[in-house]
Symmetry: D2
Subunit: 360 residues, 4 copies
């Protein structure tokens, strides 16, 4: 139901861009799990604006307050409520949008849906909503770590520059964070930086692809029909602001291949049945097969740009809009921890469901 | 919860490939809606195998029996249960698979998940599961028709052949059905037919992309956060067997563009705010903007092929598998009505939720 | 969502009193559980009309057909769909009700809700809807049996006759079934039989209370807040047609006591913490404490009676209604297996949820 | 799912008795509804301890902070998050319970369920959890008021003293609040006060019944099968701490009557079909019939008492427990606004579901 995601491990986010606070309630977490609060803060900092010249300089000093559900560093099995207070009220910056829906933003559709819109900023469509997801995802990751599961996302493409030969088995968040654009290949990272610098100079924005690898995932996670783990990942990723596409394993490129090329042949490795290739992206029939889960999410260019856009206001009059200040030239960069968080939430939900069957 | 999809308009499917029956329960349908049962049968026939030389010749004479919820051709507002009895028990054909998981099939992962598998065929992973979806989707379509909404899906790519210049405003199911490969462009349909003939001759299979257009969708459908209408469509499409990717509007190609290219500028048409382009695919911030909803789903090549595949059995021994009989060379063709059905289910669910707010 | 009950073990029932069939889909059952189909039929027979002179003689030859989810007597972990075809179409008997809502029936409220009503009988409000519950409950019982849990319900009161000194530890379904009114005390059973004979002679009906005992329930089942196991049982019981009240343990009588009387003091028995009394009915803070779960459900007298009732039709005109044929003089008798089934469904759902936490 | 209640109007509560805060997220509220925040505070004050000598003197200065979802006094249609910070940390008072589960409290069962318990107080089983319910319920009431619906609960019985001849049509919260024990009859209120004074002098506690009347409820609310409005009310009421029983309309007493006595005959009043009596409590077949909804909830005596109780600790050793300080001698008094809140939540949820069908 919209603001809640998950069946067993359930995340409910709340908060508008300029309400008193934003955050999440996490329900269904296992009890007795050690939670390191500083890891929540660390991941929140990775999605924070103003990290470097490639992200919006908006000052969001996001500090998470745990209201319930964790005591002495351990989960109680009760709802974990976490809030981040909003400090950066700049309602006036948005005044001009009140009668002009921003192109490819949610202003127009929110008004059509609710008949009322938050007076400033994107309301629930703001990227600040993702704070709640990162809170929940980082808690999920700490549960998953007790099962050995690890998740790393990175920018694999910006505009026409597509990073190649990334070794999914050796990448880590440290390597990813060593790049200002979150691309683990030094060569492509440099090219991407230049592309973004050019985009910033043009007062424009640019699209990108975020890839994600989930390692050490047990077999048997996911469900046969509507809640295939890749279907849940698809929903999770498309629910991130600015996401426009999702693919698992060989994805769209599989549509250009023959079965004899795309099929993943089984082989025995150390007494365990594995696949020789991983075009399935770790998922067969919606259920994990023990290989890495690998997927891509496409992000469109940030809708807010500094370039003048000639559009229409609600009265139908022609209006020229120019985004003030600096904005994220490439939203995908800050989306990296959000992708990781949503992946963690999906995988934990599937793992807990499976725990009923085989006492994982 | 896996076998159930939807929040208000809820579809639960049941049935293994070789159980006594397969079907669906549809809950949450509006009362007093006229249902033409022959339309259900018609759409079931479109997904049926054996339609022409480009689909599997397996004889599935699927006849839908309405057990409840419809009386004198009208919905009662109560659960609509529909069953199709399974006649085509060919358990013996599958005997050889019992110790060898088929590559890129769900045999291995079902066994890992449940510790037990249906003795023959794909169980729930069988394409027969989609019968329940088509039943529910065709009922949903008849409700949507009372709101003027119309949905058409078609094959837009097979292998490397990508149909261009399809006019989304004039295509219809009749035009789509005039092509043996469900491609509304005569020119590309012919090329695709040749490609499939070649694939059949090779005892191979081939991937494809199904595109879908939903017309006359009101503004305001979909939800701001996790249940964005495009996120729900993504889940719905990835839940279809063999689907590997989803994109809305400009999708993956938007990741290669700049904001100034991808943004959809507003214009006033006949007193209504519309967009000059539709890179958003009819959805902004997860909510419909009144333009056509347009999306693509990528399908991998059918996993079962006649070509010999050298794989491993559960004991780790090397085994050569050759699919017997003829199989769908391109599963996407029969997936066309399934895509339409899942789209109808998602849109109706969002419409009913929105009906609470603005009495649509 | 109304026609579906449960979070993990989910029961969806379908069917009107005079549709082609009634039944249930059971989703979320553990795989690899042996199911004895004859036990489903046996429990269906216990709720069947016409068992003896104290129940309606309507001939319902209910035979369950398993459509999916069970193979070779074992659950597959997939949806179990079961249908009972309706044979007893007596639409004409109900013709006179078309313009006159029956007092204390659901005719009037269904019409107000849906604007359309099934043309005959009670539609979904018919007792035939409970067939689906018994199917699901009997499957649940077979899963619970693998955990040692046993459930027995019985009639403890009819009209003013209240059975006393029933030993909850020794009663069994065999003892209950030895009474024509399902009361395990021979003395009270005889008194109740006489009371019902009198009621039948008066062409009237009579209310009753069904008690239920659930034995060998593990500790820890149920949830702290809204899904307390007693809250779920309350919903489950009040959802049975004609149920008007629910109480757990000392229930309404606890409202007349002092804390020092009602509190259940802890004692150690064989190294396990138990309570000296069981006013809690096996549930503290919504969670099972290892004692027997004990609860009562109050049933009103059957609404349909042979006695003339002066009421109004939809036009507001005065009408005299007399129920034709014989009806259940006391619906509670046939409700006994339904109470057991709903209890089994609730307990299994709570048990599966708890299985995630402690690998029960 | 436990900490969340409702299908459309969804309430999720969070917070332990001694965590940083307690509160609720309300999702699914209609947009554009005017919310008077002071009414939330007013109802919170009615459930607050320390109101008078008949409630616990614990100082809970509960002040609600709205974090999101309401702007300029109007709902946005987005999640409404509200928090009340916990100020009254008295962890030391509970130290002695760490090794001794309090009789008829949830200490033992929480430990069995989660393997970990909040270090002090009742955790989620604390009455403080009901703060979130009152927040949500008071918002729901303000939505219901726009439909003319009004809800009043009151204490109708304490111990053996049962108030008679309460006129449900004239009672109001003002009249209820004029009684220190929330009983609208001066005569019985005086008797109840004396009973409680005696109970306090004994260092004991006493049970009670809370009755509730919901007026001007439209016809058609509630659902035919598992989500009958009385079934949902039963779940809602049994989920309140210390509740042990629920009955709708003539409830348990209907089990002692004949059909001819209990049936509600239809009559025409001012062109509208009404019932001459209201033994149905406003609900037929689970759906409202336009009469007042009338129900009772039984509360056991407060488990914590000052009287010495000889019980066992986790080691099985005999321990004498004496509750320190003063406690609520009769929890039902403070439960009155909680009953109203849960009723409002249930009715609004049913109303929003029905709004899809008939644009209420």
């Amino acid at each position: 139901m919209d603001n809640t995601f998950g069946t067993i491990y359930r995340t409910t986010t709340f908060g508008e861009s300029h309400s008193k606070g934003v955050g999440a309630i996490v329900d269904g977490c296992l009890p007795n799990i050690e939670i390191n609060e500083s890891l929540i803060q660390k991941q929140l900092d990775r999605r924070k604006p103003g990290l470097n010249k490639f992200t919006t300089p908006r000052n969001e000093n996001d500090s998470a307050i745990i209201l319930s559900g964790i005591q002495n560093g351990k989960t109680l099995g009760t709802p974990i409520a976490v809030v981040v207070m909003n400090n950066d009220f700049r309602a006036q910056d948005y005044a001009e949008f009140s009668n002009t829906p921003r192109p490819s933003h949610a202003d127009f559709t929110y008004k059509e849906k609710f008949g009322i819109v938050a007076s400033s900023g994107g309301g629930r469509a703001s990227a600040r909503e993702t704070i709640g997801r990162v809170i929940s995802g980082t808690i999920a990751e700490q549960v998953l770590k007790t099962f050995g599961i690890e998740i790393v996302a990175f920018v694999s493409q910006i505009g026409e520059i597509c990073a190649k030969n990334i070794d999914e088995n050796t990448i880590s968040r440290e390597i990813v964070d060593s790049s200002a654009v979150k691309c683990p290949s030094k060569k492509y990272s440099d090219l991407m930086e230049k592309e973004i610098e050019k985009t910033i100079a043009e007062k424009n924005s640019i699209g990108a692809v975020v890839s994600c690898v989930c390692k050490n995932v047990p077999t048997g996670l996911g469900n046969p029909v509507f809640d295939k783990i890749d279907a849940l990942l698809a929903q999770a990723m498309l629910s991130i602001p600015a996401a426009k596409g999702f693919e698992i394993g060989s994805g769209f490129s599989s549509s250009k291949t023959k079965g004899s090329q795309n099929n993943d042949i089984f082989i025995m490795k150390n007494g365990v049945l594995k696949t020789a290739t991983n075009n399935s992206g770790g998922v067969q029939g919606g259920i994990t097969n023990g290989e890495n889960i690998v997927f891509n999410t496409a992000f469109k260019p940030t809708a807010t740009i500094g370039l003048a856009q000639k559009t229409a206001n609600y009265d139908g009059n022609s209006v020229v809009l120019e985004g003030k200040g600096r904005h994220d030239p490439c939203v995908a960069i800050r989306a990296v921890p959000v992708v990781e968080s949503m992946a963690a939430i999906v995988i934990l939900d599937c793992l807990l469901r499976q725990k009923m069957v085989n006492n994982l």
